[in-house]
Amino acid sequence: MSADSAAPRTHRPADDPVVRDDADHWSGASIVPSQSIAGRALTLVIAIMTFLASLTAGAVTVIDDAARSWASDIGREVTIEIRPIDGVDIDAEIRRAVALAQEFSGVGRVHALSDDETRRLLEPWLGAGLDLDALPVPRLVIVEIADPALLDLAEMDREVGETIRGASLDDHAAWVDRLRAMAGAMVVGGVTILVLVLVALVLSVVFATRAAMAGNSDIIGVLHFVGAEAGFIAREFQRHFLMLGIRGGAIGGGLAIAVFALAGWLTQGTAGIPGADQLTAFIGGVSIPPFGYGAVLVLIFAVAILTAATSRFAVHGALAEIE
């Protein structure tokens, strides 16, 4: 039918193919184009920033866990140190110290370091084949604390000082305090970095979304001229950018979770290798607690919502410019 033929929407016969055309012409079509260069760039930016923020959040939880573990482990052990004194049978004093420690409630295993264990302990500083009798080397009794609430450390300290000659009790309080301070500083540092990464994430997502929206200003204009309400336009873009945000966030967060799993597997699979053992001794196994995975999920959804909200503001800004 040509442009100058009869007007439309007049008489339509029952067998008119127009009437029978019931195909869904909108199937899979979105008013906002689902794939665009700006959209792909935005997805990439969101994925990278979510990945970095997730890694930082994971690292902070690992450090926090390690710090708690250090403080807990050291706090669950005290040491009786017995210095050799001329004329005093040090082995007898060690046995008495073990027996005394075992009398206290709340005490778990009590173990006196043997000569061999003491030599191995000092070997890095004094070399192999050390003759313990030739040097005034203090001997150690390790007292593990089964229940800190039951143990009266002050009483143990007093009795050890009074009844065991040359002995003193070291409850590692100074070490625990220093470790707590160091671990606290590391956690504060990690949280600070996390906050900075999150700020960078927010700014990156906002600017990348605005850049992607700038490429869609023609669509906003057309929708405006065909009589779309601002709320309709905002909803269309918001839904589109929410999906972009979820996709980018899921890619970044998913990769971060994969990295956590890989790091955990590597630290387990490298047991016995000196470097890996030292790392494990220092921070424990690299295992992210459920809270860490929860934080990654929260991050993904927060990024998606931020992206959608930014697009909404951009739509209203663009409409204000048109009008």
């Binding site: 033929s5 929407r9 019931d22 065909v226 009589g227």
Partner: protein, 219 residues
């Protein structure tokens, strides 16, 4: 339908680009808006489409003063006006059918209620065979007809066309003009902004001539 009284418009602190415009667009009327480039034709079309507000004077659209129309009511008013741009403004990621059906889509109508109308209108403007292709593969004339179909699909009371024949050859320009006349015959008021004298000479219609921001009317 539309009434301008002593309307003036300036952008920011600049000089007035439109001055003392007083005219009416009556229902079912047909008129050309003409004048040299830069005379303010597109700006006047934007005023008619409620995309701009005058800096002075009074504009009444469909019986309502534009200064008293709230922002939330503007989309409803604009739906009574169809607009065709010189650069078509079709969405390249949608098919011709989807572009023409867009006004219904933004209204949230079920496709079953308008599908037949869209297909029929596309056939009427000669795009029945091109409804499933994307605008980038349409010719200039086909794009223009798709843009016209989109402006007409919701049966507006007023059609504004900005240089609708600016990108087409004379035979197609004549066909498009007949399309506008047919539409006008069906009851839609038409305002065609053009500086194509040959086109205007084909129709005995009122001419609104803009020059230096002022208007002269030749009936």
């Amino acid at each position: 339908m539309i009434r301008f009284e002593n309307v003036g418009l300036r952008y920011g602190m600049g000089p007035e680009v439109l001055r003392d415009l007083t005219f009416q667009v009556a229902p079912h009327s047909f008129q050309f808006l003409t004048g040299p480039s830069g005379a303010g034709k597109t700006t006047l079309l934007r005023l008619l489409f409620l995309s701009l507000r005058p800096t002075r004077g009074l504009i009444s659209v469909f019986g309502r003063e534009t200064s008293r129309i709230g922002k939330q009511d503007l989309p409803k008013m604009r739906r009574r006006i169809g607009i065709v741009f010189q650069d078509f403004r079709l969405l390249d990621h949608l098919t011709t059918y989807q572009n023409v059906a867009l006004p219904y889509r933004v209204l949230g109508h079920d496709e079953a209620t308008y599908r037949a109308d869209v297909v029929e209108l596309l056939k009427w403007v000669g795009l029945g065979e091109r409804m499933h292709v994307m605008p980038p593969v349409l010719s200039g004339g086909e794009k223009q007809r798709a843009a016209i179909a989109r402006a007409l699909i919701t049966k507006p009371e007023l059609l504004l066309a900005d240089e609708p024949t600016g990108n087409v050859d004379p035979p197609l320009a004549r066909r498009l003009l007949r399309l506008f006349l047919e539409l006008n015959r069906l009851g839609t008021a038409v305002v065609i902004a053009t500086h194509d004298l040959a086109l205007m000479d084909q129709v005995d219609a009122r001419r609104l001539v803009l020059e230096d921001g002022r208007m002269e009317i030749f009936s």
